[in-house]
């Protein structure tokens, strides 16, 4: 099965994105039970900005990360391109 070869930089950017998404997830669950923690909300909003930047980086190597209008498509349509996460 011929699969798109991903450059080394992809793996580094993807790991950074996974790390930032983890921070966002942890803050989300924390804020669900501590909704008045101003500092955590500031961190959440800051990391959300960082995520946008990292998603853009990863998508340069990998193509769209999300659907439903959250990522731009390349041409031809590259959302459906392998490798999928479990194939990497």
């Amino acid at each position: 099965m011929a699969q798109k070869q991903l450059p080394k930089e992809f793996y580094k950017s993807m790991e950074e994105l996974q790390a930032v998404d983890f921070v966002i997830l942890e803050l989300t669950l924390y804020l669900d039970t501590h909704p008045n923690d101003e500092q955590a909300i500031q961190q959440f909003n800051h990391m959300t900005q960082v995520k946008q930047h990292l998603m853009y980086q990863v998508e340069q190597y990998y193509g769209p990360l999300q659907q439903f209008g959250n990522s731009y498509s390349g041409s031809p349509w590259n959302w459906k391109d392998a490798p999928w996460p479990w194939q990497i």
Partner: protein, 189 residues
Amino acid sequence: MWIYEKKLQYPVKVSQCNPMLAKFLIEQYGGADGELAAALRYLNQRYTLPDKVIGLLTDIGTEEFAHLEMIATMIYKLTKDATPEQLKEAGIGDHYASHDKALFYHDASGVPWSASYIQAKGDPIADLYEDIAAEEKARATYQWIIDMSDDPDINDSLAFLREREIVHAQRFKEAVEMLKEDQGKQKYF
């Protein structure tokens, strides 16, 4: 609605082909305390829970699907290069006979997933206590699988998932406390 993100929550690397480990891991795919049960339990209970905790169940339920994909990735990678003979030796010849190497929602003994694993009582305390117990049971299962595994890469991902169960249990306990506070104010129940 839900939006799929084309990435794993946490990296999954596999040291070597190991269908025996895949056999154990499928417990967390389609078993009673596995990730499918967790996701479906929380995302179903949330419709009738108090507003205060719906967000938490939505978010944890969604994260469980990310865990399900991690487990699927482990099983896929551990079996993709195995021969039918190796699968048979690992004790999953009966799985192969029905599914080839496709994944299926059953536990480590091959028992198919059942909705009887989960409950929704419409009583917030009863539901949240079940959720806490479910997280603790999943944490224990991850520990037993780590104890049997000699794959350092898989164990790294499994340790991550084990820690997530602890965090989820903690948040569910906080949710119980939030509801109990309201109960004290006689705003609820």
